[in-house]
């Protein structure tokens, strides 16, 4: 809704609006700014200065030490996130395709059951899942985490694709069937080429969810298989010796940069994912 009446550019109310918005911008940015600043200071700077004081000399020792500690776990996160994103997106696409264009008796019921999975509190499945992973020999492995993320990401990915595909007129599928195309041909040659927007949304949404996950990480992994979120938490919350806030902040930045970068580059897809998932909710 846009206010149909034009407002003068500098009325007091306009100024007030801009002021409030600006204050909000500052408040949202402050934590990020503080994190960055702190990460480039020395521990002495931190204890003598305050949150917003400029470092006496910009130094990267915090970053070096942080990277030294968490780089292995960063790599774990990649090993977990990339396959999980790709697999869950693929399955979600196929599911969405079936649910919107090849409906059969029971498929709607299945969709309803699946939908509930979007609201599932994962605490209710942690124990049985860990038993199962143990039996499969996948406890404390990155593969096990990939499996878990795929299973519990299915609800959202299927939802995304199904909602996208229902808006495609089914005359298109009918025409293709009359032309002689079968199930997979129609998917590959007609539906998939049309799916670019929703694939982007799904990839970005899944990447953000899985990279940022902590719960599954802390429950299903240990030691060498931990993702970076777990490593970060361990680093920050173990108090051996003096706290090195610059290292802590650098590590937090390392953990947060990938999703932040994805957001900056492809933010509109992220927003679409948020609102698409939310609309169903």
């Amino acid at each position: 809704m846009h206010s149909p009446v034009d407002k003068p550019a500098l009325s007091p109310s306009r100024l007030a609006i801009h002021a409030v918005l600006l204050i909000a911008v500052v408040l949202y940015l402050v934590p990020l700014v503080v994190m960055l600043l702190t990460s480039f200071k020395t521990p002495e700077d931190i204890s003598t200065g305050n949150l917003l004081s400029w470092p006496t000399a910009i130094t990267a020792i915090g970053w070096v030490k942080a990277w030294g500690t968490v780089s292995g776990y960063f790599w774990n996160s990649i090993l977990i996130t990339v396959p999980a994103v790709l697999i869950s997106t693929t399955i979600g696409a196929l599911n969405g395709y079936v649910l919107s264009m090849w409906r059969f008796r029971g498929s709607q019921l299945f969709f309803g059951l699946l939908l509930f999975g979007c609201f599932l509190p994962f605490q209710t499945v942690l124990l049985p899942a860990s038993f199962t992973l143990g039996k499969l020999g996948l406890a404390s492995t990155t593969t096990g985490l990939v499996l878990v993320h795929v299973v519990y990401g299915l609800a959202f990915t299927t939802l995304f694709f199904r909602n996208f595909y229902v808006s495609i007129p089914d005359a298109l599928v009918k025409a293709a069937r009359l032309d002689g195309a079968g199930f997979f041909t129609i998917f590959r040659r007609i539906i998939l080429p049309m799916s670019t927007p929703i694939i982007m949304v799904c990839l970005i949404w899944q990447f953000t969810q899985i990279w940022n996950d902590f719960l599954f990480g802390v429950v299903f992994s240990s030691g060498d298989s931990q993702p970076i979120t777990v490593a970060l938490n361990n680093l920050v919350n173990t108090s051996t010796g003096a706290k090195e806030y610059n290292v802590d902040m650098a590590a937090a930045m390392i953990a947060g940069l990938p999703t932040l970068l994805v957001y900056v580059v492809a933010g509109k897809y992220f927003v679409r994912g948020l609102t698409a998932g939310a609309v169903k909710g």
Binding site: L172, A175, R177, L178, G180, A181
Partner: protein
């Protein structure tokens, strides 16, 4: 090209649900143009989907070229369809759209190129071959959709309201083009529409449907002149047929219908009507174009004086509304008739064209006429 026959075709969507299609029976010869027409929800699109194999029938049989294809999948029935929304593949060019079905059938590329060229020339879309559907106008998309169907050279063409999405002027142009194309190519076609003008002008045979039942099957002229019931009569013809409830009295060995315009009374003789109908509640069916301006004391047919309630000059006609038997009646007169609201006109009827319908069921009540219609239908179905 092929014959098409539907035998006792039934379709239900589930036990306990009403039948979507009930006992559909019709057949067309090689090269004929069949129109399925009816209001929304009458089942015409469902019937078309069943013919195409996109939906399964629950009873009866569909025969193409005398072979029962009821169990076959769509791609094996050798049928092509043009959809109301055209359903062009949006990520492919026009050429790729036309080629798609041919490529799936593993035609050699040289033959495919030839087909595409032939079809593009026929439909005058050669300059559009490299474009994508989003870059085409509605009329151009429609041609491409037709081209896709033509390239396949199927046994039967199905058209699902292909002109509905076009604006009125384009629709009229395309209608004529379709007729021309059918005359040239002599393709067996089934065409679904809710537009009765398309039904009349394009079809060799018309099936009027309502609630999943074929109300009448015949040539356009039969449907127009000899409707089997009130629904069919009201559906075909624009402006629609007037339905005037009337009493029947016997006089001089003939039945007459009593008409009262509020200013005068007239007894319309109904030659050939069964005297046993006297006293029955009936409805007279009179088409607006069958009412003429009459001289009083008539040398023509029976006439009545009535007061003009509304006039609608349409350009080619003057539509005049009067009241007969407390019902609004539309008369289609010549455009130069000078009359105004409140004037009294003398209107003349042709008793031979007046139809009788049962007031309760809507069925036609001229015994002899109905027999003819049924005979015509039987001839159409079984005349081999």
């Amino acid at each position: 090209m092929a014959t098409l026959e539907l035998r006792n075709v039934n379709k239900t969507y589930g036990a306990g649900l009403p039948d979507t299609l009930k006992d559909i029976q019709l057949s067309i010869k090689d090269g004929e143009f069949l129109i399925l027409v009816g209001p929304s929800g009458c089942g015409k699109s469902t019937l078309m989907n069943c013919i195409a194999g996109l939906e399964q029938i629950t009873g009866g049989a569909i025969l193409i070229d005398q072979q029962d294809v009821s169990g076959m999948s769509p791609k094996d029935r050798d049928i092509a369809m043009v959809f109301q929304s055209y359903a062009l593949y949006p990520t492919m060019t026009v050429r790729e759209n036309i080629e798609f079905g041919l490529k799936i059938r593993k035609m050699p590329q040289a033959a495919i190129d030839e087909e595409v060229a032939r079809v593009a020339k026929l439909l005058q879309i050669e300059h559009l071959l490299a474009r994508k559907p989003a870059q085409l106008s509605g009329g151009q998309q429609q041609r491409v959709a037709m081209g896709r169907a033509l390239a396949r050279r199927p046994k039967i063409y199905l058209f699902d309201e292909p002109l509905s999405n076009l604006d009125a002027k384009l629709r009229v142009e395309m209608r004529t083009e379709m007729k021309l194309m059918h005359q040239r190519l002599k393709t067996t076609t089934v065409y679904v529409t809710h537009d009765q003008i398309e039904a009349m002008t394009l079809g060799d045979k018309v099936a009027v449907m309502k609630d999943g039942i074929i109300q009448q099957f015949g040539t356009p002229q039969q449907i127009y002149n000899d409707p089997a019931n009130q629904f069919v009569a009201s559906f075909i013809g624009s402006p629609p047929m007037n339905f005037v409830p009337a009493r029947l009295v016997a006089q001089g060995g003939q039945l007459h219908a009593v008409l009262d315009s509020g200013q005068a009374r007239c007894e319309l003789p109904l030659p050939g009507a069964d005297l046993g109908l006297e006293g029955r509640e009936i409805v007279l069916g009179i088409r607006p174009e069958q009412i003429a301006l009459g001289a009083e004391g008539g040398n023509g047919g029976p006439s009545i004086r009535a007061q003009v309630q509304v006039t609608e000059p349409t350009g080619p006609d003057m539509l005049v509304f009067v009241t007969l038997n407390q019902t609004k009646v539309c008369c289609r007169l010549a455009p130069d008739v000078a009359c105004q609201v409140g004037d009294t006109l003398a209107l003349q009827f042709d008793p031979a064209r007046v139809l009788l319908f049962d007031a309760q069921s809507g069925e036609r009540l001229q015994a002899t006429r109905i027999a003819n219609t049924v005979k015509d239908n039987m001839a159409a179905l079984g005349g081999r």
